[in-house]
Subunit: 235 residues, 2 copies
Amino acid sequence: MKCHHYPNQNGEYELCVSKVPIFNHLNQEEMREIAFLIQSRTFKKGEVIFSANSSLNELFIIHTGRVKIYRLSDSGREQILRILEAKEFMGELTLFNESLTQNYAEATEKTEVCVIQKSDLQKLIVRKPSIALKILEEFSKRLTNADQLIQQLGSADVETRIASVLIDLNKKQNSNIVTLPMSKGDFASLIGTTQETISRKLSAFQERGWIKLTGQRVVSILNIEKLISFTEDTK
Amino acid sequence: MKCHHYPNQNGEYELCVSKVPIFNHLNQEEMREIAFLIQSRTFKKGEVIFSANSSLNELFIIHTGRVKIYRLSDSGREQILRILEAKEFMGELTLFNESLTQNYAEATEKTEVCVIQKSDLQKLIVRKPSIALKILEEFSKRLTNADQLIQQLGSADVETRIASVLIDLNKKQNSNIVTLPMSKGDFASLIGTTQETISRKLSAFQERGWIKLTGQRVVSILNIEKLISFTEDTK
DNA sequence: CGCGCTATTGAATTGTTTCAATTTAGGTGG
DNA sequence: CCACCTAAATTGAAACAATTCAATAGCGCG
């Protein structure tokens, strides 16, 4: 893990602050001030950023890269809760909840994060309540996503869950050639199934001519309508 | 649905405001002011408070009773996301998210709610940012609960999920005689299984001597340690 | 006290997992 | 830039957990 303080010599210090939604609505002066409270850290693919049972004293904001947030069950099974990308933050739950986190965070690719101390952020929020509103917005979005995942895990079969993810990615990436933001193994962990089942179901979609698999993470969507109507079928 | 405005003749108007976490930290004067913005409504068991695809213009705070928040899949299957009880609120997601809600809310018993207009609440938050912090706390708790449910649904078998709920209730109600806060059917919908399976698994626990079923919603926990170690088993 | 909703139980069926054996992809280093 | 090597993905077959549908039993509300 590399680590350095903002600001650095070439004025890069505003990178995080000026780009992330929770701060970028502030004025120049305010952002400059926050930049001094921020540290930068870099994690390699596979490095753990924080673990369960730790009391986090900092909020991490992703600058570049990707992080998976997951839990481990007693049996050792990993359940991914969400994948975070640039501009999103993590470590927030212990900000408003005293307790220890139960989550793990691991970089799934080279990832640069900006770190701000919990105590510094708390002081900032008091002075600039608009920051709290931005966090509320993000929480709101996450809760909606979590609710959707709960619905999928609780009441859709694996094939439907996979189709739903493809449809979401198709919409989000606005392209028929979709790149999975994670390995198939992580994909499996996210939707509560196994790598093997994912493989089988994707092959089945391919055989039906709805998709075409290219490489490990690329899926060409040939017939989005079929995929959609599949998720809507009463089964 | 009954409906009346606060304040009523016998000074009951502060009931909701003075008790719920999002307002009760304010001073008397402020609470009195808020009380004038609040309406009371009563729902019978089974009544729908709001439905998917509606743009909610209000926040509902539960005064008495219980509400299930759920989604319906295209196939008509109901997935409960959470059960709300006194002092909790609902309709919050459209406060910070423009879009339509995808959730349903239904009273599972006679329920009294306090209603505040979204626009009124937004004005209040600007004047009293501490309200936003209370909402953040609640969101944080909900996100943690949602994460836990995701983990359970995604990586634990049904028996383990049921045992976990019993353990949680035992802790929350602080008694070995636990009352389910919902019907077994709703219990099934919450943990993503069927009534029949719940029945079978509870019977199995009873046969092993870990619990004793009394009536429809009462479970005596005879051996909490066995239940706990069961959830921790590598299976 | 009776009716209706809620829960139970049985048996067949299905979807998914598991474990093991291969195959493939794609990053790394020469 | 190619060959290699490892991590990732695929495929098969057996085993299993949970669902479904249907029929019965029982609680508890009015």
